[in-house]
Symmetry: C2
């Protein structure tokens, strides 16, 4: 069995490894977990002892098969709970992450299996992130950052990269959500800012926004 702290480290390492492809550094983990490098070293040594990561001194860490499976299961729980909170309890998409951070550590396979059924086996969470299946399989989805699109290209918003409450609330004020149709009206070469159209309204966004919105191009 794994402690809450261990589970959080595994999840963080999974996300870092997923984003950057490679094995992850001590500092990267410390940064993500908002803790000190020395604490990370302690923990990754413990996780290596438990065979959930492979690790050599000074060389960073990467999840073993077992570690990945634990991490993915936590992510599955996190996302299912987020669906529950939004679909059943009428939370907004910017309100659920913190609560799901707690709920993801509840230990009961039966619970998750039943929750999944109750929700109708959803494929995506409220932020457009895919929900791993029971075997930990994550269906690969083709999605592109809005920032990669050129003038006149368009697509449907299928997810957000950052999912902080502040960013999600910003999107709400612009009426952008999962499913929104977005078209690039103009793109400034100098700073990558854009004018976009969302359901017949046009407005201006910075690179910081376009780099955090995933579209499925059409």
């Amino acid at each position: 069995m794994f402690t809450l702290a261990e589970e959080n480290y595994l999840k963080a390492i999974f996300h870092l490894e997923n984003d950057c492809g490679t094995g992850v550094t001590t500092n990267a983990i410390a940064d993500k977990m908002d803790t000190r490098a020395s604490s990370v070293t302690d923990m990754i040594q413990k996780l290596a002892d438990k065979k959930v990561i492979s690790y050599q001194k000074y060389k960073g860490a990467s999840l073993t098969k077992k570690g990945k499976s634990i991490a993915v299961n936590i992510i599955r729980k996190h996302r299912l709970w987020e669906v529950f909170l939004v679909e059943k309890l009428d939370f907004q998409w910017d309100e659920v992450h913190e609560i799901a951070e707690q709920l993801e550590h509840i230990k009961s396979n039966e619970l998750i299996q039943k929750l999944d059924s109750f929700l109708g086996h959803p494929d995506f969470d409220p932020h457009g992130d895919p929900i791993p299946d029971t075997n930990g399989y994550i269906k690969p989805t083709e999605k592109k950052l809005l920032s990669k699109l050129k003038k006149n290209q368009q697509g449907i918003c299928v997810g957000v990269k950052e999912s902080s409450a502040k960013f999600l609330q910003y999107l709400d004020t612009r009426k952008i959500g999962i499913g929104s149709s977005i078209k690039v009206i103009d793109k400034e070469d100098f700073d990558q800012s854009m004018t976009i159209q969302v359901s017949n309204k046009q407005f201006f966004i910075t690179k910081q926004i376009s780099e955090n919105l995933y579209l499925k191009t059409i």
Copy 2:
């Protein structure tokens, strides 16, 4: 904010104080929490510092108003989650307690308020225990232990005193549940064993059973 361990102590003290009326002893807590008396002493000193219990050395502990309110809130959460598990996720009444022990520590007032609405503001949990309202008020219910009934008296089962999985499963095999109509057919003076009738079937139960079933007499 209170830690998981602190919350569990407060809950245990509440239940002990509720059952026995009086302030509770170190040993009683140790027994209930399945821990050592010395650990309990440490914790009740900390809880006394935090003003959630009143305590003098060697004299036992009892909850302050603040402590009681925290304990009741945890119990409210526990019971609401149990309702959720049974009503929405189709768990059996003997399967929910352990999971609720985890869920009761999730911190979010908004969550509990929304869960309560979602469940339709239930008054009782699956074991017949009353669910405290938002203000911590627990509606007093008149219920009597089956063991107190005399021959030929009858009532409706409204709760269980013990709620271990084993006991609940025993009740299942006898088709006894919340709402069952139970009549005392015969009562043995010597050992308090009974013959009871539950929906036209008669059978024999020991004192251990009758002391753990609450009835509303009719």
